[in-house]
């Protein structure tokens, strides 16, 4: 096994790769693709919920990247640049598909009432960790706007001000959409769990419960 590269070594070797790619060296393109393909593909997959679309978008993002690579001057981290480019490629694709929910500025919901829960349901909670496939499916079932904010914030780690800039909406709207996305996701996951009988009851002693 080769020793783990330090961040400094990694950055230096990436800078060399970028310089070589700017000279049009094929193996440098390949190495950059290899280094970043998983993150870009995962982003595309989670934002679209479709493997074929995700692969096409990954290809498109890297194609745009390599076309523009000669303009990269290193002011920002290469991965940040690539990631933002990939987000834009996916958003453009979703908008072309006519998914209006992707635009969050149409209806600013940041000042709306808090999300109400349906108290007709039982109060059981999700049990333990949520497996990857179930979670990914629930995410893919979210409306496009909710899904985008959830993926960017909770999975990719973007801050609300960054999401607001990307989505051209207010910070408050981004926060509000995220909360709704999480609540909707919970609803979907609880639906899955109930169908499979996986929910766990809460501890006894809840003062609001009465036996019938």
């Amino acid at each position: 096994m080769s020793p783990q590269k330090s961040p400094t070594t990694k950055a230096a070797s990436e800078a060399q790769l970028i310089a070589r790619a700017q000279q049009g060296e094929e193996s440098a393109f390949a190495a950059l693709f290899e280094t970043h393909k998983r993150r870009v593909y995962s982003l595309c997959l989670r934002m679209t919920g479709n493997t074929a679309e995700a692969e096409d978008l990954t290809q498109e993002a890297f194609l745009q990247l390599f076309r523009k690579i000669s303009t990269f001057r290193g002011e920002s981290a290469f991965s940040t640049w690539l990631h933002r480019l990939a987000v834009n490629v996916v958003l453009m694709h979703l908008r072309k598909k006519g998914l209006q929910q992707v635009s969050l500025d149409e209806v600013d919901t940041s000042q709306e009432e808090p999300v109400k829960r349906d108290y007709g349901d039982d109060d059981r909670r999700l049990l333990g960790s949520i497996d990857r496939i179930t979670l990914l499916r629930a995410i893919s079932n979210l409306p496009a706007g909710y899904r985008t904010v959830f993926v960017l914030h909770d999975i990719e780690g973007y801050e609300h001000n960054e999401i607001a800039e990307i989505m051209n909406c207010s910070v408050g709207n981004s926060k509000s959409q995220l909360h709704k996305a999480r609540m909707k996701l919970r609803e979907g996951l609880r639906g899955d769990r109930s169908r499979m009988g996986f929910s766990a009851p809460v501890a006894a002693g809840d003062p609001r419960k009465e036996e019938q």
Binding site: K37, T58, G157
Partner: protein
Amino acid sequence: MKERIARSAGCDQFDAELAAYLEGESRPQVVAHARQCGYCAATLSDLEQIRMSARELPWEEPSPAVWANLRAALEAEDAFRVPGDRWAWLGHLGLLRHPAPVGALASLAILGTLFTLSPARLEPVRTSEAGLVAGLGENAPAVMSVDEAAWARTIHELEDTYRAREPFLEPELKVTYRQSLDSLNGSIRECLTSLQAEPTNTLARDYLLDAYSQKAELLTSAIEFSGR
């Protein structure tokens, strides 16, 4: 036992402050209320669980076709002013330390074409075979489509060949292959378990086919290396 829920004023305040609390703002009422209210405690616990699970989602691997298509597009645009070794990019795969042989790629291309163009011609395998492939033993679910069963059988055959040739691999390479195979077996098991619980789960089916495709690719390349 059936339970009836009564909503309180504390629940309304909890709802109003929950989003801010999850954003990291100080909202002591949220925690205080959740301690007394099972319904709100379940909501809070679920949302925290969702957030944590989302953060821990692993990165996914795109199929090798993505680079092949990208490379072709770049080549068509004359982007490569310094052409490299045609297969040198494979040397950058964490899995492989050396360029993969053309034979392995040719085998994969044939496999891919076979499964893409004429899956119906391939006979399905018994689910017990699929279970062996995935490490599920006799507990394998009877949920495989013809495509999946065909992949499973092909992989089973590749595994037999690989097992016979594994002793000839360099020790370091053997460890690397074994770790990758274990990881892919884990993914396959996870998909089959999901499909067993819910046979209509199309995402699990997509992942299963991806995992089979990657495993076939891995085994083919391992077999090629062992013969060098």
